[in-house]
C-alpha cells in the first residue's frame, strides 16, 4: 500500500499539465467597511452588468464576481469554445467567509432568529457557486485558505486540481476581504490547461 502511494505521488510530479496564463485582473480597495461595500456597488454599476442577485451577495462574493465578470467579458470567444463542464474555479484567501461569519454572529445576538440570507454566505466556496450559477459552469471547484497570497501555490493547486478532474479553463485567484485592516484584494487569473 505504501509503495503504491509513493508511486502515485511520483507520477503526479511527472505529469505536469501545461498551464498558460491567458488573462488576469487585479483590484485593491481600501476604506471603511461601509465604503468598501459602496465601492463594490459602484464598480458593478460602472461595468453595466444587469444581475440583481449581485446585491444579495456578501462582499467576498461581490468582489470575486466582479473579477469573474471582467475576465469572462474580455474572453467571450474563448469561453464560447469550451464546454461548461470544462471550466474550473479555484479560489484562495486568508479570511475565509469572515465578512459574513461576523455579520451572522451579530444577527444571532441582536435578534432571536439569525438572518437566513446572511447564513447562506458563511462559507467561502459560495463564491465558486455564485460564479458557476452566473455562467452555468459545472466544472471542478475548490476554495483554499492560505496565510498570504502565493502565486506559486496557486499554480501548484491548479495543477493538482487538474489531476482530480478534467478541465480546460480555470478561473483562479486570491479574493481577500480583510475587515480588520479595511482592505479588499482581488488577483484573478484565467488559465488555459493542456
Amino acid at each position: 500500500m505504501q509503495i503504491a502511494f509513493y508511486l502515485s505521488l511520483n507520477l503526479l510530479k511527472m505529469t505536469e499539465y501545461r498551464t498558460e496564463l491567458v488573462d488576469s485582473f487585479e483590484l485593491e480597495l481600501s476604506a471603511e467597511a461601509a465604503d468598501l461595500e459602496k465601492q463594490l456597488g459602484e464598480i458593478y454599476q460602472e461595468m453595466g452588468i444587469n444581475y440583481p442577485k449581485f446585491y444579495k451577495m456578501n462582499d467576498l462574493c461581490k468582489l470575486g464576481f466582479i473579477g469573474a465578470e471582467k475576465i469572462t467579458s474580455n474572453n467571450t470567444s474563448l469561453f464560447s469554445e469550451i464546454a461548461k463542464d470544462q471550466v474550473a474555479t479555484i479560489f484562495f484567501n486568508r479570511s475565509s467567509s469572515l465578512v459574513s461569519d461576523h455579520e451572522h454572529m451579530t444577527s444571532i445576538h441582536r435578534q432571536s432568529i439569525p438572518s437566513p440570507a446572511v447564513f447562506v454566505y458563511t462559507l467561502p466556496n459560495i463564491l465558486n457557486g455564485e460564479i458557476a450559477i452566473r455562467n452555468e459552469w459545472t466544472g471542478y471547484s475548490a476554495f483554499y485558505l492560505m496565510e498570504n497570497y502565493e502565486a506559486s501555490k496557486i499554480d501548484e493547486l491548479v495543477n493538482i486540481g487538474r489531476h482530480c478532474q478534467t478541465f480546460s479553463l480555470c478561473l483562479a485567484g486570491w479574493v481577500e476581504t480583510d475587515l480588520a485592516n479595511q482592505k479588499y484584494s482581488l488577483k484573478i487569473m484565467l488559465y488555459k490547461v493542456n
Binding site: Y55, I113, P116, A117
Partner: protein, 86 residues
C-alpha cells in the same frame, strides 16, 4: 392600508437587498415568487423572519404562508389582521 403596503415594500427592499428597486417600482399585486419580483426560497425565509420580528406574526401552516406571500398586498392584508406588535 396604503401606508402599510408602502411600509412593507420598504422593509422588503432593505431586508432582501433589493437596492436596485424603489417602492414605487414594486407593483402592489405583482407576484413575489417565480415571475414578477423573482424572489427565492431564502427570501421566503427572510420574510418569515421579518414578519415575526416586526409584527409578531408566526406561521404554523406552510400552506397558509404560501398564500400570504403571493404579493405585497396579500402580505399587508394579513399583517393588518394578525399583527401582534409593530
Amino acid at each position: 392600508m396604503q401606508d402599510l403596503i408602502l411600509e412593507i415594500k420598504s422593509k422588503l427592499i432593505e431586508q432582501l437587498n433589493l437596492q436596485h428597486l424603489t417602492p414605487e417600482q414594486i407593483d402592489d399585486d405583482a407576484m413575489l415568487f417565480g415571475t414578477g419580483l423573482g424572489l427565492d426560497s431564502i427570501d421566503a425565509l427572510e420574510i418569515i423572519v421579518l414578519l415575526d420580528n416586526d409584527y409578531g406574526i408566526k406561521f404554523k401552516d406552510q400552506d397558509e404562508a404560501r398564500e400570504v406571500f403571493t404579493s405585497v398586498r396579500t402580505i399587508a392584508e394579513y399583517v393588518s389582521k394578525h399583527r401582534v406588535n409593530g
